[in-house]
Amino acid sequence: MKAKNQRLVLLALAGAAGLGAVLLAMSAMRDQASFFYAPADVARQGLPLDRAVRIGGMVRRGSLHHHPDGVTIDFLVGDETPATIPVTYRGITPDLFREGSGVIAEGRFQPNGGFVASEILAKHDENYMPPELTRRGMHKTDAVR
């Protein structure tokens, strides 16, 4: 093979690899990317049951409830609308998790409307506010309901 042809072959290979990466990424993204839902979104759009999603909002004051096993908790996540999502989580909560603070949870919705969280995302410091929530005009406290 001439050097010039070899270069063309390599170029074509690189192009094919790049295209392959994009196609693979798109298909994996369609199946695996998780969307973010605030309680209002769920109220408006219905339950996304087919995939793992993230939800976020404020932990309603007075809604945190411990199960007798000592490691499972229930709480309500609310936002600026009256809508709430009931969340169940089995695990150790992040250090800064408490009622009235912002929270983001990853998991799946159940057909009955409850959300089973597989993970509660940690906050890195006291003033942390999930950007998803800041952008929706929410504030640090749950003063907005």
Partner: protein
């Protein structure tokens, strides 16, 4: 005074980098002692002028004598400026805004010291310090590169430096004073108060920013049209050096996240982790393609492209991490102006380099040819696979940012990365072992089949064994477990039937690095297949079964620390009739800022780690305990360290061989 001195040193360093750029550009201008643009000189041999006369030997460029010391002085000055910042932190000089905002007089000295880069401004100063020190290193030690290319390289390095000096001096000055002087500082984020802070960021930066050398080399070679084997041999040690640091930094960062966060995971596909993985992938590809260029004069344009891509990934990473666009323990900045500044810089550098590449790529000669079955071809496949993985990580990391700008929140996490990347990474590991068994230029497929028979059989046997003994594990961990022993054996193949004492050191380097990949692969697969997690709320005195361990919860007691107080749980664990050992996870409350954190307790055994995190106590006197038994998880980081050590051996081997050659060259003269 010290703050002002530090700032002055920084300004001086910045002006020296401007001088370095101007001098370099002047030296390269045709007719000014420079000789760059007069003819195409892609080949390392003396070019022949159309008239038939040989080009006379080039006179040494007088400007080179000036550019080198300037580069060294610039590195020294910015180094001193960085030392000034460390000094301010060690003394907790609260009249400096950065210290007041990020330090505290009662912090242990290690965190005062390392806290100098545990914030936005300090970390950017570390960034340019590494950049300038790496440039100074090139000026001091690079002897093989053609003079004009060396000047162009130093000019390119100065140009990168100039942009980031401007960024620091105009948009994030670490030496700003604060008035009135506060009585006490705000303290450092407790998550960062860990010995890891002293090690992980500098190592990572030496890799991350060290890749800039490869970028500058590539730009230099494009400017002087000097892309050839000699250039590749000169570039290789620098790429290797940066890559070793990057490997160490990523490995250390992974272990730090593992024990500090208390989630039991060692890699989260967090955008910040991806930001360090992307340059590593590109640098790994570069490391292999530069070998093809050095040995066989092939893959010229591709190697140059990879060098540009590798540092572009570093800059994109810097942007992701430092612009505040992500929420992370790494993101200190919240000022959108800063993000825009870094974005403008990286657009300028990447765009400039790609434009130069587009203009000059036609002067880059085609490389020597090779057959489909050859060492070169296997390295091409390695490069393609690494590039595809890089592309997948890149898309997964940046796509959420794009959709977010379009108004839809999505998060791309482990499910995406594992399904998309896992299979390709496994295939890459397999190819990795075949490559070194192939001869350069051309090889025989049947001979290859004979060589890989043993590893393939071993992997097949292992696959069968795992399917029989541990049915029901995911197919990725299954394939990983099956592949690992085959890869390990095949990695040793290059040493087969060799005189081990006469084997060159860089070959050992490759073997150790590839073996490290096999170890890491085994660790990752074993961790995802066999980890046992136990989550309980336990009363003191209770015994908990966790995997093969019986763990007795002895109780909790308060523990004072230098700037925190903690509740410490004491657990006695034993496996079967083995010797019991004590585990002491803590829940800490730091004084300033008042922040709770949890400290995990990890016991390393020969066959894995027992990992315990302490949660909250409840009103019935129970404490939450999350316990993981992770068989062979340690292999992940041991493998990472081996990969870096292999790189180190290869670097030493290359440098020794070079020195010997140079001596032999000089001896007869």
């Amino acid at each position: 005074m010290i703050a002002e001195a530090g700032l002055a040193l920084l300004w001086l360093a910045a002006s020296l980098s401007l001088l370095q750029l101007v001098l370099g550009a002047a030296a390269l201008r045709p007719g000014n002692g420079g000789w760059a643009d007069e003819q195409v000189r892609a080949a390392p041999q003396p070019a022949v002028v159309p008239g038939g006369h040989d080009v006379p030997a080039r006179p040494p460029n007088p400007l080179l004598k000036v550019v080198r010391p300037v580069a060294v002085a610039q590195g020294l000055l910015v180094g001193l400026s960085f030392l000034a910042l460390i000094w301010l932190f060690l003394r907790t000089d609260l009249s400096v805004k950065l210290v007041a905002e990020n330090s505290h007089s009662l912090k242990p000295w290690l965190y005062k010291f390392a806290g100098a880069w545990g914030n936005h401004e300090g970390s950017m100063l570390l960034w340019v310090t590494v950049l300038a020190v790496a440039g100074a290193g090139v000026a001091l030690f690079e002897k093989r590169l053609r003079q004009d290319t060396l000047i162009a390289t130093l000019a390119a390095q100065a140009m990168i430096g100039l942009g980031f000096y401007a960024y620091i001096l105009l948009a994030s000055n670490p030496f700003d004073r604060l008035f009135p002087v506060p009585i006490e500082g705000n303290g450092l984020n407790p998550l960062l108060q860990d010995p890891g802070l002293a090690f992980h960021p500098p190592t990572l930066y030496f890799g991350y920013v060290g890749i800039s050398i490869a970028f500058s080399f590539a730009v230099g070679a494009l400017v002087t049209r000097d892309v050839g084997p000699a250039f590749a041999r000169a570039m290789r040690p620098w790429v290797l050096g940066a890559w070793i640091f990057l490997t160490l930094g990523i490995t250390a960062g992974s272990y730090w996240a593992y024990y500090e966060l208390g989630w039991g995971g060692w890699w989260f596909w967090d955008p910040v982790e991806n930001a360090s993985l992307m340059p590593w992938l590109a640098a790994t590809a570069l490391l292999h393609s530069v070998t093809v260029l050095a040995t066989r004069a092939g893959l010229r344009a591709w190697t140059i492209m990879l060098a540009v891509v590798a540092f572009s990934m570093s800059m994109i990473g810097t942007f992701l991490v430092r612009s505040g666009i992500l929420t992370s323990v790494h993101a200190f900045a919240v000022d959108p102006l800063r993000g825009a500044f870094i974005l403008a810089l990286l657009t300028f550098y990447i765009g400039g380099a790609l434009t130069l590449f587009g203009l000059r790529v036609r002067y880059v000669k085609e490389g020597s040819t090779f057959e489909i079955v050859s060492r070169e071809a296997s390295l091409v496949i390695n490069n393609l696979f690494l590039s595809v993985i890089l592309g997948l990580v890149f898309i997964g990391t940046l796509y959420p940012l794009v959709t977010q700008a379009l108004g839809r929140e999505i998060s791309v996490g482990p499910p995406y990365f594992n399904t998309a990347i896992g299979p390709i990474a496994l295939a890459l590991a397999a190819i990795m072992t075949i490559g070194p068994m192939l001869r350069w230029r051309r090889d025989d497929l049947r001979a290859l089949a004979g060589r890989i028979a043993a590893p393939v059989l071993l992997s097949a046997a292992m696959l069968l064994l795992v399917v029989l003994l541990a049915p029901g594990i995911g197919w990725l961990p299954l394939l990983g477990l099956a592949l690992a022993p085959g890869v390990a054996i095949a990695s040793l193949a290059p040493l087969w039937r060799r005189n081990l004492r006469r084997t060159p050191l860089f070959l050992y380097g490759m073997v150790v690095a590839h073996l490290g990949i096999a170890f890491a692969l085994a660790g990752m697969a074993s961790d995802s297949a066999f980890t046992r997690e136990t989550l309980v709320a336990a009363h003191p005195g209770q015994t908990i079964e966790a995997g093969p361990f019986a763990i007795r919860f002895l109780g909790v007691e308060p523990v004072p620390g230098p700037n925190w107080t903690a509740v410490e749980a004491q657990l006695e664990a034993r496996r079967g009739d083995g010797t019991p050992f004590l585990l002491t996870p803590q829940a800490r409350l730091f004084d300033s800022p008042a922040t709770p954190t949890s400290e995990t307790s990890i016991q390393t055994l020969w066959d894995g780690q027992l990992y315990v995190a302490l949660g909250d106590g409840d009103d019935q006197g129970r404490w939450q305990l999350r316990i993981w038994w992770k068989p062979f998880v340690t292999l992940i980081w041991a493998g990472g360290a081996m990969v870096a050590f292999g790189g180190f051996l290869a670097l030493l081997g290359r440098l020794w061989r070079e020195r010997r050659f140079r001596r032999e060259e000089e001896a007869p003269a």
